[in-house]
């Protein structure tokens, strides 16, 4: 990671090593004060953003703290991240037949993203304080066996549509949100398209040209897949 000097990861209990972003540290302190142990981890990029990971049970409470205590009254978005590496790769080398369905990869626990986490799915939400550049990105682990987290609609009305979208795209339930109809896809649609195991069907039926199209540049090693696959799209 390239931000060794600019950022530092701490737990809520520790004191921050880089003390040059008082306003965001004050925000973190508000969350720690009201949520206590439920603030599991945090990550601060000085001058840019603050990530906070909270316990699953305290997710609804975290929204109320954000709105009422921390003054983050503006709801930005709510979505999720699937940390499973895609079993299809990036479809770039699909001149070789990929077995379908492909073997499922293990989620690599080595790189859990900012503010940590150990579940496959994470819900991510962003709230901000109007009139400022203060923003908090809140994360919560979604239990692998029962993908449900509490809803945010009691704190932010705008979360209703975002939860519908997250529900259809990732299959995550939101306890307390009764209206989780599909928002984009037909109501009969099966599967959760933004999960990594969901194939991008256009690429399955017709492989991306990828390396087959691109002739190696003079002096370039034609066996170097990395170079060849992106030669077309890269800019200098």
């Amino acid at each position: 990671m390239a931000d060794d000097t600019a950022a530092t990861t701490t737990t809520a209990a520790d004191t921050l090593e880089v003390a040059s972003d008082d306003r965001r540290e004050a925000l973190l302190a508000v969350f720690s004060e009201h949520l206590g142990d439920a603030v599991l981890d945090s990550h601060l990029k000085v001058g840019q953003a603050l990530w906070i990971r909270v316990a699953t049970a305290a997710w609804g409470e975290a929204a109320l703290v954000a709105r009422n205590e921390a003054g983050l009254e503006w709801f930005d978005f709510l979505s999720a991240i699937d940390w499973l590496p895609s079993p299809y790769g990036r479809y770039e080398d699909s001149s070789v037949d990929v077995p379908f369905p492909p073997p499922m990869p293990e989620r690599s626990s080595a790189v859990p993203g900012y503010a940590g986490g150990d579940s496959r799915l994470q819900v991510l939400a962003s709230v901000a304080r109007p009139g400022t550049d203060l923003r908090v990105l809140l994360k919560v682990d979604v239990p692998d066996d029962d993908p449900r987290v509490p809803t945010w609609i009691r704190a932010y009305s705008g979360a209703a549509w975002h939860e519908r979208e997250t529900h259809e795209m990732f299959g995550i339930g939101f306890d307390g949100n009764a209206d989780l109809r599909h928002i984009y896809l037909p109501s009969e649609f099966e599967g959760h398209p933004l999960r990594k195991e969901f194939p991008l069907l256009a690429r399955v039926v017709k492989p991306w040209p990828g390396i087959v199209d691109v002739e190696p540049m003079p002096g370039e090693d034609p066996d170097d897949d990395d170079d060849a696959t992106v030669a077309e799209g890269s800019e200098t």
Partner: protein
């Protein structure tokens, strides 16, 4: 199996709520009025299913997704330079502005900084996108209220802006011009003078519209005091852009959370309106077009020299990390949450588009209004379907 009449009605109601039927129905609860997906007043494929009691809306349900293209999934199989081609098509009236936050997020992760000249030209094109986008809104607004002429004026004068965008980027609607580390090309010869002339023209357009549309008595009667959004509600739904500033919230990401663009070196003003009704939203937009022409003038005058491209590797690999960058796009706050795993393409991209939040307030806002006001309220919220559905 025969259904009782009540069961049939329940079935029809359930289907209407599901958006699958396309007719107007009399039921015990009143009437179900379906607008769209191709109703002229919904500019695009938005669909509205409203339940009426006489002329009054008792509940309204917004159906979207007719244009869902799955950009977030597609981004995962593209390389970083290829993503700008996709995101151009989100808000297609101000397409250059869609590229900027994504490129800024990628630059933030790579710790690359574009040279000052590139940042200034980005800002110029960003504001030109805003002018092209919102000037068309003003014409379209009048069209939805039954006035034909302003729409033609808007299309005519927007052309001057599109010509300027085209002569730099080569594309009228999908420039695909922004690059990680800078821009594809520098400005062509004579462009500055032409742009300043176009800005004079656009200011005249704003003055004309202010008298012709905003000063019109019918327009005022139909928009003033209609569709009021209090500031608390606007924030809770995450409205942004003129919809938020029209509710009196003094917040503009260009001024308050500027990410490297040239706004902090200019003299300009953020417009707000305290009323929160349809009129104030439209009024704020008009002022923003005029302000944007002044911003472009200042940018043209102060354009720094130097290169337009920072040194970036030929094959772009973005280091591992996460970044979220939001900018004040023509429609409101637009942001990209980019998760990188050190690959040539993003691992996950969350696209936060302004219209999705802006239109989500419609169900709340339309409750209790009269049918003709649906048109003005939806027009004043101003959404682009591509920006809702992505």
């Amino acid at each position: 199996m025969t259904l009782t009449e009540a069961q049939q009605l329940g079935y029809i109601n359930a289907q209407a709520a599901d958006g699958r039927i396309n007719v107007e129905l009399e039921t015990d609860d009143g009437m179900v009025l379906n607008m769209g997906p191709q109703h002229p007043a919904t500019h695009g494929t938005l669909r509205l299913v409203a339940r009426l009691d006489g002329e009054q809306v008792t509940s309204a349900d917004v159906m979207c997704g007719y244009m869902h293209r799955g950009y977030e999934k597609l981004c995962e199989v593209r390389s970083y330079p290829q993503v700008t081609t996709l995101v151009n098509r989100i808000d297609w009236l101000g397409s250059f502005a869609n590229e900027v936050p994504f490129i800024l997020a990628a630059e933030q992760l790579m710790e690359v900084e574009a040279p000052p000249r590139a940042m200034w030209i980005r800002t110029i094109l960003f504001e030109l996108s805003r002018i092209a986008n919102v000037s068309l809104f003003i014409g379209d607004l009048a069209l939805q209220l039954g006035a034909q002429t302003p729409a033609f004026y808007a299309f005519r004068d927007r052309e001057f802006v599109l010509n300027q965008i085209e002569s730099v980027t080569g594309g009228r609607f999908h420039p695909n011009f922004d690059r990680i580390g800078g821009l594809k090309d520098d400005l062509p010869k004579g462009w500055i003078a032409e742009t300043k002339a176009a800005m004079v023209r656009l200011r005249a357009f704003c003055d004309e519209m202010e008298g012709l549309v905003y000063g019109n008595e019918i327009f005022q009667t139909r928009t003033r005091g209609v569709g009021i959004i209090p500031a608390k509600v606007a924030q809770s739904y995450g409205l942004s852009g003129a919809n938020l500033r029209g509710s009196g919230v003094d917040w503009d990401l260009r001024r308050d959370a500027n990410v490297g663009l040239a706004y902090d070196q200019l003299d300009w003003k953020v417009w707000t309106h305290p009323d929160g009704d349809s009129y104030s939203r439209c009024w704020v937009r008009l002022q923003e077009v005029r302000e944007a022409t002044k911003i472009v003038d200042q940018l043209c005058d102060g354009l720094p020299g130097g290169g337009i491209m920072a040194k970036v590797p030929r094959i772009i690999k973005v280091p591992e990390g996460e970044a979220y960058v939001a900018t004040e796009n023509p429609l409101g706050a637009m942001g990209y949450y980019v998760v990188s795993k050190g690959d040539t393409g993003p691992f996950r991209v969350k696209i936060r588009s302004a219209s999705f939040n802006n239109i989500s307030v419609a169900s709340w806002l339309l409750r209790g209004v009269y049918v003709p006001d649906i048109i003005t309220i939806l027009a004043s919220l101003y959404f682009i379907l591509g920006d809702i559905d992505r």
